[in-house]
Amino acid sequence: MIDLNQKQTYILLVVVLVLVMMLTYNIVHGQMGRAMHVMRGSQVAAQAMGVNILKYRLIAFALSTGYASLAGALYVHFIKFVYPSTWTLMISLTILAIIVIGGLRSIYGTFLGALVVYAMPDLVLKRIPVLGDINGLPYVFSGVLIILVILFYPKGVVNVSAI
């Protein structure tokens, strides 16, 4: 067994992330991804063109749970400790916030969204005097951000320049 220290595990995480992003890019730009795009945009058109809605919904579901379980497994490797109360409803909501803020239907958007939602509070907000000491500030931050993004940049942070 190879024993990775935390730094090495981090590198592993980055490598896996890039690989997964590449695989996802390929899927999105191939026949399967197109079928899912159509299914989202117009169910009747998808059916008329021969897309089996049930099959592709299941594929989408399986893919997303696959990503989540991969992430979970890697997380445990990184932290080397796990307990049930880590996985709260709050995490689900935060992940949803990441997707909305980053940009729906975008691979880079999700990456950017994660950066904004997780890194911003730790790296920037905590250093602001007075404001930084407020308990639960990260939640307020992502909450306000969701509202702003939905109102002004419905395509997400990744598409800000496109508007």
């Binding site: 695989l23 026949q31 399967m32 197109r34 159509v38 009747v44 058109a45 059916q47 008329a48």
Partner: protein, 279 residues
């Protein structure tokens, strides 16, 4: 010519060789409303066939029954598809219909704004992809090759419609005439036997309608397929259709050549109303 078997399951359908689609005693109810009532007609191979009727006559409902978006309460939809055998489409899966060689368009087009024009066309080739999802995700050579071949096919389809230069433009924001052309290109990409067009000329101006008439004829020629269309533009219908079936309130009125339909008293009544008897 109903047989002893009322369900029709065991029946062998007597159809002449040149028939592509045969609607037999089609009926569908929505609550108490009979949207289509005992409708029968047949379409011969290579025809451009028009289905006309006043607003609310049930034309689109007939289309939806043929393509199985609606399940008819009674009757049969017999289609001679790619297999060459006459089969009943009633009860088949909606997404399975295109594999039989039958494609449709929609009244309101149903294009995906977030995708590019060529991707919208490529949706039409969905069933022709043979390489599996894993190969696609890993971009194996065969997946790359297949995608490239399909893209070329889609480019040819766009070229055929005269909009090849728009291939990589986003679908959203394209004008109405272009959207119609994209949908048309998507429809014939899988080389179907029968194309069903739901009001192809709706919202087009005179010039565009003429172009459309020409491209419908071209598609029919080039693909050697049959076309069934619903249309309100009488000039277009009379101009391009070989035969026409007229319906009103879901009921069969008349079927025949454009000239026969134009002079049919029942059709005239349905469109123009009963002549008032004045003294």
């Amino acid at each position: 010519m109903m047989s002893d078997d009322p369900t029709g399951a065991q029946r062998t359908y007597a159809a002449t060789e040149d028939e592509v689609l045969r609607i037999e005693h089609l009926s569908i109810n929505f609550g108490g409303l009979k949207a289509v009532d005992d409708l029968s007609f047949c379409i011969k191979s290579g025809e451009i066939f028009g289905l006309i009727g006043p607003n609310g006559a049930g034309k689109t409902t007939v289309f939806n029954c043929i393509t199985q978006f609606y399940k008819p309460n009674e009757g049969a939809v017999l289609f001679r598809g790619l297999s060459g055998e006459m089969e009943n489409l009633v009860g088949q899966k909606v997404h399975g219909i295109i594999r039989k060689g039958l494609v449709r368009t929609f009244q309101n087009m149903e294009l995906i704004n977030e995708l590019s024009v060529i991707d919208n066309v490529l949706i039409g080739a969905h069933i022709d992809f043979k390489v599996g999802g894993f190969s696609q995700a890993l971009r194996l050579p065969r997946a790359v090759k297949e995608e490239r071949a399909m893209r070329e096919r889609a480019m040819r389809a766009l070229d055929f419609m005269g909009i090849a230069e728009l291939a990589d433009a986003p679908m959203g924001g394209q004008p109405y005439g272009i959207r119609k052309k994209v949908e048309m290109a998507r429809t014939f990409l899988c080389q179907p036997k029968l194309i069903i067009l739901d009001e192809p000329a709706a919202g087009l101006n005179d010039v565009e309608t003429q172009q459309l008439a020409q491209s419908i004829r071209d598609i029919r020629e080039k693909l050697d397929c049959t076309i069934l269309l619903v249309e309100h533009d009488m000039r277009l219908v009379m101009n391009i259709c070989n035969r026409i079936c007229a319906i009103s309130f879901g009921k069969f009125l008349a079927c025949g050549t454009p000239a026969e339909i134009r002079n049919d008293p029942k059709v005239q009544v349905a469109y123009l109303g009963e002549q008032e008897k004045e003294d």
